[in-house]
């Protein structure tokens, strides 16, 4: 089976600063892969590099087995849908028109149809004619998720789909992405909430300082050692009736081994001490 997304020793820079270092990773159809890491660890860059939105400095990025650099815009849109972190909507378009932008490369009638199906999927069909700027932040996030679903792409990449949402909406967003995976799509999502990530994803990729620290099912990826190195947290995933829960506290600076060169993690660890 060809992975929907593949990074092979991918490196990237912002200016002269390396922001992604030798990352190899794949996302297969039918699975939800979560990308976790501290702020500034390179989660968003990883997505953007994989989608060809940020130039590679080394290695390769492939969509459905094809180098992303060689794809035309239309081909790339056929292989991947992207929900960026930026949620600003410029104009007060009706919800269905925003959702229809997911299928903008298709005929208008088809796009409209895909939009209404996607709105139904996120439970917003009743507000299809409402302007997106007249909605709450949570409702707007659902409309933008519907836009992603309406792409119908075999790979769905979502940058913090749960960011800024209330708990119920967070679970709903992940549940909808899971439904797409069950329908055969490959899903990659960056997440900040480790408990949510552990419950909602098949596999987790942990990155720190631009490097891939661990990949695997949540229990094997979020070990106490990885939590310490990537997040400066002391703790572990523990099982609960509702699923795994992260029980952790911040490590103090004196606990940190001097060898841990994690940019985001160590900075946050120091934050309280300064």
């Amino acid at each position: 089976m060809t992975p929907a997304l593949q990074l092979l020793g991918a490196s990237a820079r912002r200016g002269r600063l390396p922001v992604l270092i030798d990352v190899s990773l794949c996302v297969n159809p039918g699975e939800v892969l979560g990308v976790v890491g501290a702020n500034g660890s390179g989660k968003t860059t990883l997505l953007r590099v994989a989608l060809g939105l940020h130039p590679l400095h080394g290695g390769e990025a492939r969509l459905a087995g094809r180098p992303v650099r060689g794809l035309s815009e239309a081909e790339r849109a056929g292989l991947a849908g992207y929900l960026p972190q930026e949620r600003r909507v410029g104009w007060n378009l009706p919800a269905w028109r925003v959702a229809a932008l997911g299928a903008v490369h298709r005929a208008p009638v088809e796009a409209r149809e895909a939009a209404f199906l996607a709105l139904e999927e996120v439970g917003m069909a009743g507000l299809a004619e409402r302007g997106v700027l007249d909605m709450s932040g949570g409702e707007r996030a659902r409309i933008l998720l519907a836009r992603l679903i309406a792409t119908g792409a075999p790979l769905l990449a979502a940058d913090e789909p749960a960011g800024g949402l209330d708990p119920d909406a967070q679970f709903l967003a992940m549940e909808r992405l899971r439904a797409r995976a069950d329908a055969g799509a490959a899903v990659i999502a960056t997440l900040h909430d480790l408990t949510l990530a552990a419950r909602a994803c098949d596999r987790l990729a942990v990155i720190a300082g631009g490097r891939l620290l661990a990949v695997g099912d949540p229990a094997s990826a979020l070990t106490p050692e990885v939590l310490a190195a990537a997040f400066a947290l002391e703790g572990a995933l523990i099982d609960s009736p509702a699923g795994p829960v992260l029980a952790a506290q911040r490590r103090t600076v004196s606990d940190l081994p001097p060898s841990v060169g994690v940019r985001g993690g160590s900075a946050e660890g120091r934050g309280g001490e300064v």
Binding site: L53, R76, E86, W91, R97, V98, L101
Partner: protein, 325 residues
């Protein structure tokens, strides 16, 4: 669709009024003569003086309205218009340089210089738009370009050899569609038509940009090409308008604002109604400029600025109050 139809009817009515009324009052018999005898004096007044003037105003208004709607869609900013991006400023500068350089007697030279100025501004904006993805950065660049155009135009005034030249440049910059003939209109139609076609091509890109650059980049649309088409189209339209009538502000700002609510904010569907609304606004403004009794006829650009500037303040005030993240 229904909105555009209503606007077409409105435009026809306002043009008919502009052709019917003027400084010279005509009797009913003279109106009949204008239709029956093309060589008569009334026919001359209606078809060779008033009609081209009204059509020129409509064309300039439509070009500015369409350019404004395109700019606003591109920058996702309801305060954008050709003036804001510096396109009008450089077009005016082009005309000023041509007049001061003594090219005014050459037919079409001033117009060509204005168009060239607009295209230079357009090219600068296109080049920069590829580098700066943030619409805010582009607006700031436009402000700088406008200021630059203004400074260089002031320099032209400063260095101009005679007060006659200065007056000529100033008169151009104030904007007017008086004494335009059918030939002028034909000449402006070419760049304006090309610009309109480019804007129409860019329309779907403008709608996509509602969700920001990142989302648009992966939408499957050729965004770089659509963005370039939008800027080039707006520059051609603005250049054609400035070449025809000098620098006329605020129509590009006001027209999209007036129709946006009726098309549920959609930047693609704003284009055609904006062009029509711009045409109506400018024909009406020119009618006002002709009819308001003053010793010296009011300049069209002065009239639009008098009405437009308060509107600009109002739009800014509303935009600031309802600024939603």
């Amino acid at each position: 669709m229904r909105l555009s139809l209503a606007l077409v009817v409105g435009l026809v009515v306002v043009i008919a009024i502009a052709v019917t009324f003027g400084e010279t009052a005509l009797s009913a018999w003279q109106y009949r003569q204008a239709f029956s005898d093309p060589a008569s004096a009334p026919a001359e007044i209606l078809w060779s003086i008033r009609a081209p003037r009204a059509i020129a105003a409509a064309l300039v208004g439509a070009a500015l309205g369409l350019a404004g709607a395109t700019m606003q869609g591109l920058l996702r900013n309801p305060l954008a218009d050709p003036g804001v991006l510096g396109v009008s400023g450089l077009a005016g500068l082009g005309a000023a340089v041509a007049i001061a350089g003594g090219l005014a007697s050459l037919p079409g030279a001033v117009e060509a210089a204005a168009l060239a100025g607009a295209l230079v501004a357009g090219a600068l904006v296109v080049t920069l738009a590829a580098r700066l993805r943030e619409p805010e950065a582009l607006v700031l660049f436009g402000v700088a370009l406008s200021a630059m155009g203004g400074a260089l135009t002031a320099l032209v005034f400063n260095l101009s050899p005679s007060p006659v030249t200065t007056a000529e440049v100033l008169s151009w910059l104030l904007g007017s569609v008086a004494n335009r003939d059918w030939g002028d209109i034909g000449a402006a139609l070419i760049p304006a038509g090309l610009g309109a076609a480019l804007c129409a091509y860019a329309a779907r890109g403008l709608r996509m940009l509602t969700l920001g650059e990142e989302t648009a980049a992966l939408s499957g649309l050729p965004m770089a090409r659509l963005r370039a088409a939008a800027v080039a189209g707006a520059a051609l339209l603005t250049g054609a308008a400035v070449a025809m009538a000098g620098v006329i502000g605020f129509v590009g700002l006001a027209a999209p604002h007036l129709v946006r609510g009726a098309v549920s904010d959609d930047p693609a569907r704003t284009l055609v109604p904006s062009a029509l609304a711009g045409a109506i606004l400018l024909v009406a403004a020119d009618l006002a400029a002709r009819m308001i009794a003053t010793d010296e006829e009011l300049k069209l650009g002065v009239v639009t600025a008098l009405f437009g500037a308060p509107l600009f303040a109002l739009v800014a005030w509303r935009a600031a109050r309802s600024w939603r993240a």
